[in-house]
């Protein structure tokens, strides 16, 4: 097991990501943040809170998207009960920032973009991830903002621990048994 981000690095990385977003989007007037269920939510919750503090905005359009109905693994489908999708604003003509914790094959993001398009036509879509598993893409999808980039192999798994859920902020790389 290898630690990719210690608790301190975790905090600094998140701050850096939030500042990068503000650097590119400034007031967030026409920008929306959307977190991908189930695990991207912890990251998107924190980032949207930080962005709100930095920009001192009264309100930022923030939503959660569940992609269960857009998955591409139809044949070997493991039917799951979906999580909440909660998007209470229109994404029409907004710059959308999709947020997920780990970018691996890119299939989840592909599903998320299809789901998003069914809500309207965003002006642009950007991707923010905490961990980019660099050379394991199965689709041509790359992050616009990445917390930390790692080279991993298929038999490894990246585990992200969150203070709210697991008691600590940490990212580790483990070998799948």
């Amino acid at each position: 097991m290898k630690t990719l981000l210690t608790t301190e690095q975790f905090k600094i990385t998140l701050q850096r990501l939030a500042h990068q977003l503000v650097e590119n989007h400034l007031s967030f007037k026409d920008t929306a943040i959307i977190g991908i269920q189930p695990r991207g939510i912890y990251l998107s919750d924190r980032i949207s809170r930080m962005v709100k503090e930095i920009t001192r905005a009264k309100k930022i359009d923030y939503g959660k998207l569940d992609i269960t109905f857009y998955r591409d693994d139809v044949q070997a489908r493991d039917i799951q009960v979906p999580n909440d999708t909660d998007i209470r604003f229109s994404i029409e003509n907004k710059s959308v920032i999709l947020i997920d914790d780990v970018l691996h094959t890119g299939r989840t993001i592909r599903s998320a973009m299809d789901a998003l398009i069914d809500y309207g036509r965003p002006k642009s879509v950007e991707l923010l991830v905490l961990i980019d598993r660099r050379f394991s893409r199965e689709l041509p999808i790359q992050p616009d903002y990445a917390g930390h980039t790692v080279d991993t192999i298929l038999t490894q798994k990246v585990k992200v621990y969150w203070e709210e859920k697991d008691g600590t902020d940490e990212v580790v790389l483990i070998d799948k048994v």
């Binding site: 139809v74 039917i79 809500y119």
Partner: protein, 309 residues
């Protein structure tokens, strides 16, 4: 598969976890139905046949819409205008449909037990859209879902089911579903329309409709099933309306605002008056809206792993 059953034949076979998962999934599908693009592509690899051996407006349209919104391919079969009139048996009819690579069946049949019979003879998943006077599980699920939407947790809520209980599969499925979820159920109507020993299902019997309304939080009003009665069970429709019909004065005389439900189709002026059916306390059209979401949830949760050939 998250559901404990392979088919949805009756509420009898579902456990409370199944019902809760259906509700949670239906919540999400209800969201999908509010969007401009009311579809998801999740069942685009599934073909579903709706085989209706009995008339229907709501249920049939509701299922068809649910299936299309899930992205599935849909074929419809109604008994009239099919080879059933030439004497083709149920199993032959179904096997012919399945030979065309249909993955799931939604069936309504006039014989109680027909879906169970079929489930023993075919591999595909079956959803019971109503069998004789036995069960109508998706109706009960959407009814309970509608109550939960307006009043919160079903546990402890008082539900009165009023009308032709004896011939009603909606009543039976509702009784099973509500009692499973911990509600208190009273059935009310003329003694000729309430089966003996129905208390053994865990419900109270009340022959005075006004008393039932005073007790309940929600009244589910049933249609008089004229097409199912083979002998006269009350004198006239007008007398039924006078003694057992729900009217506005009765509603207004209660000390609280109860919800009014009806599975449809409504016999206006018989079991329920227009000023009740169209009032602010009626959630009848909301039930219909929820029906599509519930059916989407049921079909989605049943469309599990398929055997790769």
């Amino acid at each position: 598969m998250p559901l404990s059953v392979k088919h949805l034949l009756g509420i009898k076979e579902l456990n409370t976890q199944d019902i809760e998962q259906i509700f949670q999934t239906a919540d999400e599908f209800k969201q999908v139905l509010q969007r401009p693009i009311k579809k998801v592509p999740t069942l685009r690899d599934t073909t579903i046949a709706n085989i209706f051996f009995e008339n229907s407006t709501r249920t049939r349209l509701s299922f068809e819409l649910a299936e299309k919104r899930l992205g599935a391919d849909v074929v419809n079969f109604s008994a009239s205008g099919s080879s059933v009139s030439k004497g083709e048996t149920l199993i032959d009819t179904v096997n012919n449909i399945l030979a065309m690579k249909v993955d799931m069946l939604v069936m309504r049949h006039s014989a109680s037990g027909a879906p169970w019979f079929l489930a023993n003879h075919i591999d595909a998943s079956i959803v019971n859209a109503g069998d004789g006077t036995n069960e109508h599980p998706t109706q009960a699920l959407l009814d309970a879902f509608s109550i939960r939407e307006k009043l919160g947790d079903i546990k402890g809520k008082r539900v009165a089911i009023i009308g032709d209980i004896m011939h009603s599969r909606v009543a039976l499925s509702n009784i099973f579903c509500l009692t499973k979820l911990g509600a208190h159920v009273t059935v009310a109507g003329p003694p000729t329309l309430i089966p003996k020993h129905i208390e053994s299902l865990g419900v109270r019997v009340e022959y005075n409709v006004k008393k039932a309304l005073e007790w309940c939080d929600v009244a589910n009003v049933l249609r008089i099933q004229l097409e199912r009665q083979h002998k006269p069970l009350f004198s006239t429709l007008r007398e039924y309306a006078l003694f057992y019909g729900i009217n506005k004065q009765m509603l207004d005389s209660l000390n609280k605002k109860i919800l009014i439900m009806h599975p449809g189709p409504i016999n206006r002026g018989v079991e329920i008056n227009s000023d009740v059916a169209d009032s602010g306390q009626s959630i009848i059209l909301g039930q219909v809206e929820n029906g599509v979401a519930i059916r989407m949830a049921v079909i989605y949760l049943l469309a599990g792993k398929k055997e790769l050939e």
